[in-house]
């Protein structure tokens, strides 16, 4: 990736940059591991075995065992599945919510627009972690709380993007013509708005997924996220930290998995400035 790539606008339609392909490859590897590990190395991620405490890699678990003799392969795969599922769910719901509010605000204009913008800015003022923490105290189930909390955090970016794009497009001749011809909002959205929005959404979605995975792991790491014994990336790190000297690899695997997932997502988001 040369220095000028940052100046090329990210147009996912007309071909991806090499960086984005690299990111996709890394992410695919992670997803493949998360999905295939239970088939290739079937093991219950919660099953303890005192004989395997801090055991090294063997045929049943190529990543070794943790301090309770649980298979780290199974636990890592389960943790990745959990994080990826929550991230995907949060990205989808926040995209739908943010785009709906964004289109509505730009379309209606006036006080609807101002109110929506004010609401989004107020949500933005609350740090994302704080929002997720508070929702986790309201909603009893932790994965559900993460989903709702992250949706409330991530929708703002979609909203801002959609609002900015749509308010520019809505006055463009193409949309004006369609409206005069009597086409309904659904047609105008599909024909005029969506093709402009779609390529930009990928960047926001990749960043959103990275934020989600980071948040889940960070809260797990400081013991206010998922509860043990659920396999979760942050929890696995904090569980293995005391055994760092005896089993450095056991600590390193969740760390590397988190890093690679985030790296893949950040590379896909690519060209966009921080």
């Amino acid at each position: 990736m040369s220095a000028i790539t940052t100046d090329i606008p990210v147009t996912a339609r007309s071909g991806w940059t090499r960086t984005q392909w690299a990111g996709t490859a890394i992410l695919m590897l992670i997803v493949a591991f998360a999905l295939l590990a239970p088939i290739l190395f079937p093991a219950d991620p919660l099953r303890q075995s005192l004989r395997n405490i801090l055991g090294g890699p063997d045929a049943a678990s190529p990543l070794g065992y943790d301090h309770l003799g649980r298979s780290l392969t199974a636990r890592l795969a389960a943790a990745l599945r959990l994080s990826l599922w929550i991230a995907a769910a949060a990205v989808v719901t926040s995209a739908v919510l943010g785009m709906a509010v964004g289109v509505l605000a730009a379309w209606r204009g006036g006080w609807v627009d101002r109110l929506a913008a004010l609401l989004a800015d107020s949500f933005l003022a609350l740090p994302g972690l704080l929002m997720v923490l508070i929702v986790s105290a309201i909603v009893p189930s932790t994965p559900l709380a993460f989903w709702i909390g992250l949706t409330l955090v991530l929708w703002i970016e979609y909203f801002r993007l959609t609002r900015a794009t749509v308010s520019r497009l809505i006055v463009a001749p193409g949309v004006q013509a369609s409206r005069l011809l009597g086409f309904g909002p659904v047609y105008i959205f599909r024909r005029h708005l969506w093709p402009e929005l779609a390529p930009m959404l990928l960047t926001v979605a990749a960043f959103g997924a990275a934020t989600a995975i980071m948040t889940i792991a960070a809260l797990g790491f400081v013991s206010v996220g998922m509860r043990p014994p659920t396999p979760e990336l942050g929890l696995m790190m904090v569980e293995m930290l005391p055994y760092y000297r005896e089993a450095p690899m056991a600590l390193l695997t969740p760390v590397l998995a988190t890093f690679l997932t985030l790296l893949g997502l950040n590379l896909i988001a690519g060209g966009r400035r921080a």
Binding site: A125, P140, A217
Partner: protein
């Protein structure tokens, strides 16, 4: 300008309302009898009985209907009267003032450190766009962005405290305790601010007026001070406003990891103990802090670059 200030005020009220609703829902959602929970938090689980719970219930007015509670709740919030922490019994304002000091020390140290690292590297990379430093910066900042702050903290602890034994892993009070948490926060911030500065600098360095300045014989240093600094200033200052959000999130996690007695540490404990008044006070403080800082950033950006204020007010 007046419009912009009015907007920030409306935003502040909205933030307060949001915090009010969220924390009220949080209180309503507490499982079991809240009076028992709070009593257990205060006196320990072994010495809780119905009488103690009843005393707590009377003291905190937990037996009123929900709507009335929300009304009182929100009025108290608007008067910035957060009540007392249900765990420690001390006024929330006092607790927060105490912790805010520690947090500000850490955040200040991190911000200063990141400004020492980030912008200078960014300027050097931006002046020679495409050079080895520029390409190196891109790789390093992409990698750093993929390392969440808690992970950076973990790596630094393992490296400097466990392996090398140079620095304490956690604690507060001595200057040595500052280094690891501040460095953890600063690295992430510096990676981002270096990129921002680099992009702004590369943009300015490519303009005709910069080339003209060089052509008429200004030295590199002179040229940068006269024509570069102010132009990249707006991008950097605007970014600092955004960094605050990053810094706050970082502080919450980093303080919990390094045992730093600040606001983030307190917040995590308050969430854990369902200490709603503390959560409310902290959340409101962070939210309003963000609004105030962005208002300050608006003003600073206006002061650095008086052009285009009409647009700047309505945005962000």
């Amino acid at each position: 300008m007046i419009r912009a200030v009015g907007y920030r005020l409306a935003q502040a009220v909205m933030v307060a309302l949001l915090v009010g609703v969220l924390t009220f829902l949080m209180m309503q959602a507490l499982p079991g009898d809240m009076a028992f929970r709070i009593a257990a938090g205060r006196y320990g689980y072994d010495s809780v009985n119905a009488a103690a719970a009843e005393a707590v219930r009377q003291e905190l007015g937990l037996d009123r209907p929900a709507i009335e509670a929300f009304g009182r709740w929100f009025m108290d919030l608007l008067r910035l009267d957060f009540g007392t922490s249900v765990i420690s019994g001390a006024p929330v304002i006092e607790e927060i003032r105490h912790q805010l000091g520690a947090s500000l020390q850490l955040a200040g140290a991190a911000l200063a450190l990141s400004l020492l690292i980030g912008p200078p590297v960014g300027v050097m990379a931006g002046l020679r766009a495409g050079g080895w430093l520029d390409r190196g910066l891109l790789v390093v900042s992409t990698a750093l962005r993929s390392v969440p702050q808690f992970l950076m903290g973990l790596i630094l602890i393992v490296l400097f405290s466990i392996q090398l034994g140079w620095l304490p892993a956690a604690g507060y009070g001595r200057p040595a305790h500052f280094i690891l948490p501040a460095l953890t926060l600063a690295l992430g911030l510096a990676a981002a601010s270096a990129r921002i500065t680099r992009d702004a600098m590369a943009g300015v360095a490519g303009t005709p007026f910069y080339a003209f300045g060089r052509w008429k014989g200004l030295g590199e240093g002179q040229l940068f001070r006269r024509h570069g600094l102010r132009n990249i200033g707006v991008a950097l200052v605007t970014f600092l406003g955004l960094q605050f959000a990053m810094l706050v999130e970082g502080v919450v996690v980093i303080e919990a990891i390094f045992g730093w007695p600040g606001i983030g540490h307190a917040l995590v404990h308050a969430i854990f103990g369902r200490d709603v008044p503390m959560v409310q006070g902290t959340a409101l403080l962070l939210g309003l802090g963000f609004v105030a800082l962005n208002a300050a950033v608006d003003l600073a950006a206006h002061w650095i670059d008086p052009r285009g204020t009409e647009k700047a007010g309505a945005k962000a």
